[in-house]
């Protein structure tokens, strides 16, 4: 069922990253039933995990969101007040001007809720980054009058919109993301199509993100994409470009769900059994730097939520140095099995 409040607002033990990390290292892992991630990747010659060429700079503009999705790894919601300040944004802009990354990826929460979002997009777009992504939850476009023109705004700056839609049916989507989310998401997608997104005569890109609505792994991304395309076209005349299938990582609210529904052990077994060394080769943390709302640097968005800062002398955007950062070792724990299962998982979908 969708939640009303974040773990943080509920003062749940799992709102503390150290408790999540302890949980993920105890039980079936401590007792030796399943191998620690470090040992698993060592066996396939992937330890220590090191960065490759930096491709994606991902900025989290804040944990505030108009939704409280039951699987959210950010523990985002209307009750979260952590928002990137203009000062930190300015520090990010300096980095964007010089980075070798070809993709800038804005995420949240709902990044559009940051009061300086539009200014930041306008400024960042001047840097000429090849692929400028905004991760939009779609419903924000209809949440308030002031957001209704977001499709036009995205179009103006040639923003690549990546949107979450857990399923092409109402019931599953609403169960995970809240009542009414599906209808609003459909309306928002139609608005994006109407201004030219995913239309043959434009280059405006609209991708969807699928993540399983429960304690199971995603199936073949291409097969799902075909199912989504057929259903959304037939039922709502909606077009989109690509579907990214993302595995839910066992942290934050999804971890809470796994424990409460007594699915945790089965889920971890499934992730470990599906371990794919080919996915490790291209795992997201090897080509991404994630920046938190307060400017700290992480190997990925998940490590950000677990407060595992990069293992480097450079840990903050104000000291950013790409060459130094590229020499670091990537920090890992058992949640990383989520990115190496099956065809792998990243913010850009499967990797192997």
């Amino acid at each position: 069922m969708p939640l009303l409040k974040s773990l943080s607002a509920r003062k749940n033990d799992l709102s503390k990253p150290e408790n999540q990390l302890a949980f993920l290292s105890n039980g079936i892992f401590k007792e030796g039933e399943l191998p620690f991630f470090k040992d698993k990747i060592a066996k396939t010659g992937n330890y220590p995990l090191k960065p490759k060429k930096l491709e994606i700079l991902q900025l989290n503009l804040g944990y505030m969101c108009n939704q409280v999705c039951s699987h959210c790894h950010v523990d985002a919601g209307p009750d979260r007040k952590e928002i990137m300040t203009k000062e930190t944004m300015q520090q990010c802009l300096e980095v964007i001007k010089t980075t070798k990354a070809h993709t800038l990826d804005l995420t949240g929460g709902a990044p559009e809720m940051n009061p300086n979002f539009r200014w930041f997009v306008e400024e960042a777009s001047k840097a000429g980054i090849k692929d400028f992504i905004v991760r939009s939850n779609l419903t924000i476009i209809l949440a308030n009058k002031k957001y209704h023109d977001l499709p036009e705004f995205f179009k103006k700056y040639n923003v690549h919109v990546v949107s979450s839609l857990p399923f092409y049916k109402k019931e599953k989507t609403d169960k995970q993301r809240g009542n009414g989310v599906f209808d609003k998401s459909i309306k928002a997608l139609q608005m994006l199509n109407a201004v030219g997104y995913a239309q043959p005569d434009t280059e405006l890109k609209l991708d969807l993100v699928y993540n399983p609505a429960g304690a199971f792994l995603p199936t073949n991304q291409q097969a799902l994409e075909q199912d989504f395309k057929t259903a959304l076209k037939e039922d709502f005349n909606i077009d989109f470009d690509n579907l990214f299938a993302i595995t839910n990582l066992p942290i934050s609210r999804f971890l809470e769900f796994l424990i409460a529904s007594e699915n945790y052990e089965d889920y971890m077994y499934a992730l470990v059994e599906a371990y794919n060394p080919a996915a490790v080769e291209s795992v997201m943390c090897t080509n991404t730097i994630s920046v938190s709302w307060d400017g700290w640097l992480y190997d990925c968005d998940f490590n950000q939520m677990l407060e595992l800062k990069v293992d480097s002398k450079v840990q903050h955007i104000s000291d950013y140095n790409e060459d130094l950062l590229n020499n670091r070792e990537i920090r890992i724990s058992q949640h990383c099995y989520g990115c190496t299962a099956g065809a792998g998982s990243s913010c850009q979908g499967t990797v192997a």
């Binding site: 429960g214 199971f216 995603p218 097969a223 799902l224 199912d227 077994y269």
Partner: protein
């Protein structure tokens, strides 16, 4: 020993059957894996057949496995339940068609 015949955790240990008969076990799992690949029937269709058969043979492990498999493949609950009905219809039909045998016997014995 467990106090029940079925333990959900045993499903995870299915692969261990090879430990006591490696050659036969491996042959079975190779065959099993091949059967469920894409072929003249899609893997999705075969998943639904497997779900229906799981119910007919009343295998709790198989029901767990193919419900999860269906969810992963984006198979809807309506499709899953229809598959179960297809299995149930054949199973009840198999019982009922023996009614003809009963009728035949009844007629033969009766004056």
């Amino acid at each position: 020993m467990a106090k029940t015949y079925y333990n959900p955790d045993d499903l995870r240990k299915f692969g261990k059957i090879t430990e006591w008969s490696e050659d036969l076990g491996n042959k079975f799992f190779d065959y099993y894996g091949k059967v469920f690949e894409e072929g003249a029937l899609s893997a999705r269709e075969k998943s639904l057949i497997a779900l229906a058969v799981s119910h007919v043979v009343k295998c709790p492990y198989c029901i767990d496995a193919y419900t999860k498999d269906g969810l992963q493949r984006g198979i809807t609950k309506e499709e899953m339940m229809e598959a179960v009905h297809a299995g149930a219809a054949i199973e009840s039909g198999a019982t009922l068609v023996h009614g003809v045998q009963m009728m035949n016997k009844y007629d033969k014995l009766s004056m």
